[in-house]
Symmetry: C2
DNA sequence: GTGAAAGCGCTAACAT
DNA sequence: ATGTTAGCGCTTTCAC
């Protein structure tokens, strides 16, 4: 601590104990639930703590106790509302249970992800949540030997280090292929963002092509636009796509709802009818897609639930319980009106 | 990982020191920058640390050193992409500087905010960022005496506890009033979400009415919808509003872009021309508004920059520098095409 | 440039 | 039900 002269240092447990006329450890017990403490002792200690404005020092507590009540969370991005939703689910549940989040953002960069995890582990978190961004082998290895519960989220297609909470993006892609085929579409195209960094988008596309292949159908066109997904990218991408691939019974599967909404706007501004001239499907089930004049055909991804389940899984593991390694939160097709 | 039986305890600094044949303190110095350490000693220690897979324990480091390198962040919501943007700015800058975020979400509940801050302070963060949700007096008082740098963000209209980074929402509201008046609109209405919990939205509305009053104009109608802002709320609200307040030269100032986008969708589905029948303005400058077939008339709020400036301000204060108490990041009118 | 001693504020083990 | 002792793993003095 700096020696701030006039500034009386924060009260410590020792001072609370003295004020209450008990030993440090008794004060400690009293302030944590009060098991094995006499009723009036408990009250005296709490009263003293309140009077002194005592704020426990959990750095010291965690160091002495060997457990930290912080949970590290590493996400690839915050620009995408998808991860904000997951984060919300995580925060809600963990806060309820008296844990706090330390947050890192990898920007879909595996190297950065690796560094970030190493950094966050220095705080000796009680658990770690990771939405992987093509994690390096080193990262996986480190986490496997780090001796803390790890929840990998979003995706359950890949083998998990420890716990896995999410949905099968591959399955979601296939489901949409089947649905569009069922609706009678035979001219199918794919429009995506810079997919090389986003493993989930890759999985959906593969699932989609698999689903088509099962019916002997192939993509008529596929366009990958550079950069992260966005509505603008969707509009511009659609314009380019339709250049080599005229509308009229064409169905475009977009890498996610943002892109699909952009595609919808493009159709709107060009006077193309949806789904007549151009059918559209996305992924995520974002509110914006459902609020369009025509609700978007898409797949709901239950992001907040993923966060909640991941939190619950970690908490259970912290309590020493055995937890099923894979938690599939599923997905739901929203039929919408754009395909 | 599950119970690794042969689980040798994590290496400590002492072990690294021993392996390198130096004292603990020398190892400590070597691993932090290496000031006052001989060149080859430094290399030996780093090499030993690498070999042992040493992960420093910052709980211990912070406890001993009296400073934590964690920064607490309390936001009212994550559902709104606005705060995700701010968070991103914060994370980027703080991570760069070797700090980490502990996150709490208040849900616009002052009581919860109060509890959350108390909780987060137990980790002895080096600083705190707060996007206030009608903070209680107790909260303000505690922060004022907590002896750590505090950055209140979003809003600079109210007196700051310590640092204040954001823009004048009141000013933004006024600016929009002046702009709409300048465009010739005389029939003005307001459409908002449940504003009682969102102090910034309140300030914008007041500024808007002030701006109108300066020209002797009054609101023709104001409608507050229950619940948090959303596109759907915007659509439904517009439908209701137009019931008692027919279109035709009417301009609606929406509490934010989400609501305005909803209003736009409503107009679209009703065949109302924008801005002819119905002019629309929002606040935030979200990407979705600018990606509409007609870009939204709105005010850009520079959220990421707010996060970055808040981080920079805190970092400066941590270095002991004096910092100007109010940092106005300003705003920018986006004229758009909906008004 | 390096080290010895002392302690940060708390809790886990053992007492009693 | 309460207290004593001994650390947790690191960094801050202050020596040399």
């Amino acid at each position: 601590m700096q020696t701030s002269e006039a500034h009386e240092t924060r009260p410590t447990l020792a001072q609370v104990a003295r004020a209450a006329g008990v030993s440090e450890i008794t004060a400690s017990r009293a302030l944590r639930g009060g098991a094995r403490v006499a009723r009036d002792t408990l009250e005296r200690v709490q009263e003293a703590a309140r009077r002194l404005n005592y704020v426990p020092n959990r750095l010291a507590g965690a160091l002495a106790g060997g457990q930290s009540r912080q949970v590290a969370v590493v996400l690839p991005s915050l620009s995408n509302s998808v991860f904000a939703d997951v984060l919300k689910g995580l925060e809600t549940r963990l806060e309820q249970a008296g844990h706090h989040l330390i947050l890192g953002v990898s920007n879909y960069d595996p190297q950065r992800e690796e560094r970030l995890i190493a950094e966050l582990l220095t705080w000796r978190p009680a658990g770690l949540v990771l939405a992987p961004a093509n994690s390096t082998e080193l990262t996986r290895q480190r986490l496997a030997t780090a001796d803390l519960p790890v929840a990998e989220i979003m995706d359950i297609d890949r083998p998990a280090i420890d716990l896995s909470v999410g949905l099968s993006h591959r399955g979601a892609g296939r489901a949409m292929a089947h649905y569009l085929l069922g609706r009678g579409y035979r001219r199918l195209a794919y429009l995506g963002h810079d997919i090389t960094t986003d493993p989930r988008a890759v999985a959906r596309r593969q699932g989609f092509e698999d689903g088509l292949a099962e019916a002997g159908v192939a993509l008529e066109a596929a366009l990958l636009m550079p950069g992260p997904s966005s509505v603008t990218l969707g509009s511009q991408g659609t314009a380019r796509l339709l250049g080599g691939c005229p509308p009229g019974g064409l169905a475009v599967y977009c890498s996610n709802d943002d892109v699909a909404v952009g595609a919808f706007f493009h159709a709107l501004s060009q006077g193309l009818s949806v789904p007549g001239d151009l059918a559209l499907a996305g992924f995520n089930g974002l509110a914006i897609g459902q609020a369009l004049p025509q609700p978007l055909t898409t797949i709901e991804s239950r992001r907040e639930r993923i966060g909640e389940h991941a939190a619950a899984g970690l908490l259970a593991r912290m309590r020493g319980e055995t937890v099923q390694p894979v938690d599939d939160v599923g997905f739901r097709l929203i039929t919408g009106a754009t395909a």
